[in-house]
Symmetry: C2
Subunit: 459 residues, 2 copies
């Protein structure tokens, strides 16, 4: 059941919230599955839905074509003297499969136990529409306190293949002072959070070749090079006994966590045992001397993401394969440049090859780590907005993942990003029975309106 | 072109060799592909073909049904006082695909450059029919000098799924003093050989589990256990820097190569550089202190035959998989019991698991190593037979592979086995354009008849 909210004009029974809810439901009912071409008309419909709504709020709005699904761009410029806030989100959704696991139809929003159940409820229609209604909430009181722009794409669930090009082609339109993104989960149900850092990525593939064809392990075994054995030996050498990565130069320049950050993270209500249990693991691993939150938010990693070679079917086959391969990626932290790390990996890994094998190592892709300047007045404004909506200040956290489009936005627009995640892990994003708590939608609307207010009045 | 033969009555132009060739061609023309059910009638036809032929030679002959393709059993008992020789071979063949790579049709034997090109020419129709005609060659001179039995199966190319059961059900029929098998390649074109040892096998699978589901490598990477990293660390520890296997107790009881064997093998014309080149490898590997022939014929091994886990497709996926697996097998040498070695592997490998992962290791199958007593009079007789047919004595070699059916024969019948391989590696067995040199067929007939003569007269 909804918790009591701080005294605010947007209570559950208000006509405004009823309207916000009805409109979100209409938005959700459009099955804008970007990855499946049979929904292409629905995806276009969702973009037009947003355009109509934002135009009704007085925004200058466009639906811009791309090589794939269109981008909705909207802006309301109230004064050249005011800061400009760019709100990024997406109107496309994951496919709803497997349909049979849904309790109520995926595209018919249904409220049960204070939650809206539907595909897109939290990811990202509910969160993006909280910003739309946050703006409307302010407009009901007068003019906006800041300039507001919306960039709402339709291909996020496909990996945003066209958005980076769009951003670089529209830097003037998108120019802003701060970017707000709500497309994820806050730290915990009772703990609102602002994310100020993401890790980067360096992703490579390694192919090891022994003989030029598969060999009979009886006839040749013992003197023929075995690329699986060799690859395993190479991978095993990439960590030392302390869980540190052995690639020379890998840690050069790594921005160490500050004692303030470590203290702040240590004070968060977080149980490593519960975290291990939540993923069904017997225990956690990681570099000696760091906590699990530090391992995942603030330290670089090296993980094999895939490995293959030889016979993988039922039973047995006595083969020494010609080739074995692995996909290996490193999560990076501020101070590490993915291009440099990739070069270090590509240079070092072949030197680990035992005799008899050849190594071909090549790059897949990378992404820069990012950490925001939380001392900026925008973060203070965001913290006050969250405090007002949730009744308690946010914790400042990082995330272990990489958000390539956030990096493109930050780089192309030279702007910091505030990740104001409004959802919860229990929202089942990308899964059947995705949901979004009504109170999170309500608080989201308030967070958005307060953020704009706080930035307008005190930045 | 054929090399000059030692003076013998079976020259190329003789009516006898013309007949032997014509009959082999008729045998080859029957497409007895055991693995493909559409050839089932042909497989049965090939069995009947042999039955008719052996009956025409005065053999008491049966085509015995099995759960799959039938076994041809034939015997000619000349005297209870004479030794009995059991000749094993197979009348089934590999599928001929890919057909388009054959220069002449797979089942139409065609002579080019002194070679018979056809599926089954060397494996095993040519070699088994050399024994049939070897018996006929002797019968033309009078009664057989020994008792002779034939065991010719129709499922060798499927892994002989029914033969072991057949052997144990027919030990009285199959009782013999020595077994002769011709189903492979001799050491080199100008070097006839007798194989007196095969390696055994212990084959297991190891599954490593971290979390109970695939995880996002950004969100969890650094503290979530990675089963691929873990499996690689475990596999890497299975060999030491000298290429020795680290499983405790693994080498206990291993029968070391004798100085005589090592000297004999060292004297063989064999180039490790050419061996490496023949498999397209930059160099050979193996346990320090042994030659390549020793590595493959006389020392135990541990090879990964397959490995898999995580993402194996195009491009990249940032996953930490729940599971990773490997198939691992050891070739064993005399003194090692596969059941014991399998137990050692299954006990030791899980102890190598780093923290955070669970290990499930289980057995696939095993096979005993075998080494024959080359000091027995049967080996001396075989050596004289080869000397008479090839004009030079055979070298005594081992093979690195395992021959499960040979083990069953040896065990069930308490008999040694002489592997008298008549083919050559260049015969392309199992590949398009399989062939068998006419002179090897001719020599094979002589080897077979001399073997029976030598055993009859001097054992």
């Amino acid at each position: 059941m909804p918790q009591p909210l701080p005294p605010e004009p947007l209570d559950f029974g208000s006509a405004e919230f009823q309207s916000a809810q009805a409109e979100l439901f209409d938005f959700i009912r459009i099955p804008s599955v970007s990855a499946d071409s049979k929904y292409a008309a629905d995806v276009a419909h969702a973009a037009e839905f947003l355009k109509s709504k934002l135009e009704s709020l007085g925004f200058e709005t466009r639906v811009d074509p791309t090589g794939g699904h269109p981008v909705v761009f909207a802006q309301k410029i109230v004064s050249a003297d005011k800061p400009t806030v760019l709100i990024y989100g997406h109107y496309d959704v994951q496919p709803p499969d497997p349909l049979e696991l849904w309790t109520s139809p995926a595209f018919e929003p249904t409220v049960r136990g204070g939650r809206i159940y539907a595909r897109g409820a939290t990811d990202d229609k509910g969160q993006v529409y909280a910003h739309v209604r946050g703006v409307e909430h302010l407009l009901a009181q007068g003019e906006l306190p800041v300039n507001v722009k919306f960039l709402i794409e339709g291909e996020e669930e496909m990996g945003s293949p066209n958005l980076e090009g769009y951003i670089y082609a529209h830097t003037a339109d998108l120019a802003c002072d701060i970017i707000a993104i709500s497309d994820g989960s806050r730290f915990a149900k009772d703990i609102p959070s602002i994310t100020y850092g993401v890790r980067g990525l360096s992703y490579i593939e390694v192919e090891v070749t022994g003989a030029d064809r598969d060999l009979h392990s009886g006839v040749y075994g013992g003197s023929a090079p075995n690329p699986i054995n060799a690859l395993c030996q190479m991978i095993a050498q990439l960590h030392d006994a302390e869980g540190r990565i052995t690639v020379p130069g890998f840690y050069d320049g790594v921005l160490e966590l500050t004692s303030e950050e470590r203290a702040a993270w240590a004070s968060l209500p977080f149980s490593e045992r519960e975290f291990a249990d939540s993923i069904g693991a017997t225990e956690l691993i990681g570099e000696t001397g760091y906590t699990a939150l530090e391992h995942t938010w603030g330290r670089p990693t090296l993980d094999c993401n895939g490995i293959w070679g030889g016979y993988q079917g039922e039973g047995s086959k006595t083969v020494i394969p010609s080739k074995a391969s692995a996909k290996i990626s490193c999560r990076l932290v501020p101070g590490q440049d993915p291009r440099h790390i990739t070069r270090l990996l590509l240079e070092y890994i072949p030197t680990l090859a035992p005799k008899g094998v050849k190594v071909h190592a090549f790059e897949h892709h990378g992404g820069m780590p990012m950490v925001m300047d939380t001392s900026s007045p925008y973060f203070a404004a965001a913290a006050r907005a969250v405090q007002r909506a949730f009744g308690r200040p946010p914790v400042f956290i990082r995330t272990g993942g990489s958000i390539p489009i956030a990096l493109a936005l930050k780089t192309a627009l030279s702007s910091e990003i505030i990740f104001l995640d409004l959802g919860l892990n229990e929202d089942n994003l990308h899964s059947p029975n995705e949901s979004f708590a009504l109170e999170d939608y309500q608080r989201g609307i308030l967070v958005s309106s307060y953020l704009l207010e706080e930035i307008g009045s005190r930045v």
